[in-house]
């Protein structure tokens, strides 16, 4: 019966038409608009926050966010010496979260991170940061030695282990960061679109049909779930960046 629902091609789900500058490198579409909003909204919130001794309203929200990043991300992954990375990790957290949350905001209905561009940018930032921190705190040789030649490995196995370590540290880490965020948000987006298309098609058949098969209840439930996923993905992205920074700060294994 539901074969009647024609699922739209994937490009209809994730590719958005240009608002201006089509074909140019500055082509401005919905993804770019969300990226800009992910800058503008935190800026407005932070500027709205008052400087009271007893926080309330927006100030509470802003300080709660800063404290969450400091306590849950930095102190638990790096320790007190990682507090100097608060601006970077807070920016990553905010950018990922506001890029995600537009998935459930009406008229947008699209997470910016369901396109590969923003995750790639953030992963490159994390990659450059943890390599930079490693070189700065251990020196280039020390960093390479500690990340490529783990101690306690038999000499004969060393080339293989080094190759695996190189791939996992310098290639899989940024790749994993980007793909984790991208695939999570794309999967959530496809889920929401699936149930959205289902609901709309059934609504066109008749209002009763939209409510009867619980597709609308699923849509509402999944929307709440995606809000949670947006938050968790922002948390996980900044937490993983912090973990990589902390692994670079001291020789591990």
């Amino acid at each position: 019966m539901f074969a009647a629902l024609e699922f739209p091609p994937i490009d209809n789900l994730v590719k958005w038409p240009a608002y201006f500058g089509e074909g140019q490198f500055y082509e401005f579409n919905k993804i770019a608009l969300i990226s800009l909003l992910a800058v503008i909204i935190p800026t407005i919130l932070f500027l709205m926050a008052k400087r009271d001794l007893v926080p309330s309203g927006v100030q509470n929200l802003v300080e709660g966010t800063v404290e969450f990043v400091e306590k849950q991300v930095i102190l638990s992954a790096i320790g007190p010496q990682g507090l100097k990375y608060t601006p970077l990790l807070l920016s990553i957290f905010l950018f990922v979260f506001f890029g995600n949350i537009f998935e459930v905001i009406p008229t947008f209905h699209m997470p910016a991170n369901a396109r590969m561009a923003n995750p790639v940018v953030l992963a490159v930032v994390a990659w450059v940061t943890f390599i930079g921190v490693g070189i700065k705190s251990q020196g280039f040789g020390g960093f390479m030695k500690s990340s490529l030649f783990p101690p306690g490995v038999p000499k004969a196995l060393m080339p293989l282990v080094s190759l695996i370590e190189f791939i996992s540290t310098f290639l899989l880490r940024p790749f994993g960061l980007a793909v984790r965020l991208f695939a999570n948000m794309l999967a959530g987006h496809i889920l929401l679109v699936t149930f959205g298309v289902l609901c709309i098609t059934l609504w066109q058949v008749g209002p009763l049909a939209a409510i009867l098969p619980f597709s609308f209840a699923m849509l509402v439930g999944l929307t709440g779930f995606e809000v949670m996923v947006s938050l968790i993905q922002a948390f996980v992205f900044s937490l993983l960046t912090a973990v990589y920074i902390s692994l670079s700060m001291s020789a591990h294994h």
Binding site: P8, P9, I10, D11, N12, L13, V14, K15, W16, P17, A18, G21, Q24, F25, Y26, E27, F28, N29, K30, I31, A32, S35, L36, A38, V39, P42, T43, F46, L47, A49, R51, D52, L53, Q59, V62, E63, V66, E67, T86, P87, L88, S91, L94, F95, T107, H109, A112, R115, M116, A117, N118, V120, V121, L122, L192, V193, V197, I200, W203, Q204
Partner: protein
């Protein structure tokens, strides 16, 4: 209605995973802007407020600790003073009790002494009255005895002789 959640149809089928250059450009620009804003404009005042609050709370806590310590020492002082006062009161009471005891002993002694002298006086008086009474009774007893004896033997007896006999009789222990 589907237009709300679906983008307008794309011109050609392309890889849905590879990032496009414009989106990379805008993403990088946006993140750079957000990072610079957070680092130099947005975070410092918030951090300053939070640190001020932490300092304020720490100062308040320190003040409370100091107040508690001073209150504790004052309480100790009061306690010491109380102990002193209590000891002093005890010694005063002890002294008073000892004094009262001594006075009582003295009063009792005086009373006993008076009682003893009174009793001695009374004894002496009784003795004197008895002696006097005996001395008064003796001649009459002698006379009565002489009369009785004369009646018995039929003639008058010399009173003086009788007297000496009576005296001897009376003086002998009963």
């Amino acid at each position: 209605m589907l237009g709300i959640i679906l983008a307008v149809e794309a011109t050609e089928q392309s890889n849905p995973i590879l990032p496009t250059v414009p989106e990379l450009f805008w993403g990088a620009l946006s993140f750079a802007a957000l990072y610079l804003l957070v680092t130099f404009v947005l975070l410092p005042p918030v951090k300053k407020t939070m640190n001020d609050r932490a300092d304020r709370i720490r100062a308040d806590l320190d003040a409370a600790d100091a107040a508690r310590a001073s209150a504790g020492s004052a309480a100790g002082e009061v306690h010491d003073q109380l102990a002193d006062v209590r000891a002093e009161a005890g010694s005063v009471v002890d002294a008073a009790r000892a004094e009262a005891e001594a006075e009582r002993a003295q009063i009792i002694g005086a009373a006993e002494a008076e009682v003893a002298t009174l009793r001695a006086d009374a004894d002496a008086e009784i003795q004197a009255a008895r002696t006097e009474a005996l001395a008064g009774v003796r001649p009459q007893v002698a006379e009565l005895a002489a009369n009785a004896a004369g009646r018995v033997i039929g003639r008058d007896l010399d009173v003086t002789t009788t007297q000496s006999v009576v005296d001897r009789f009376l003086d002998s222990p009963n």
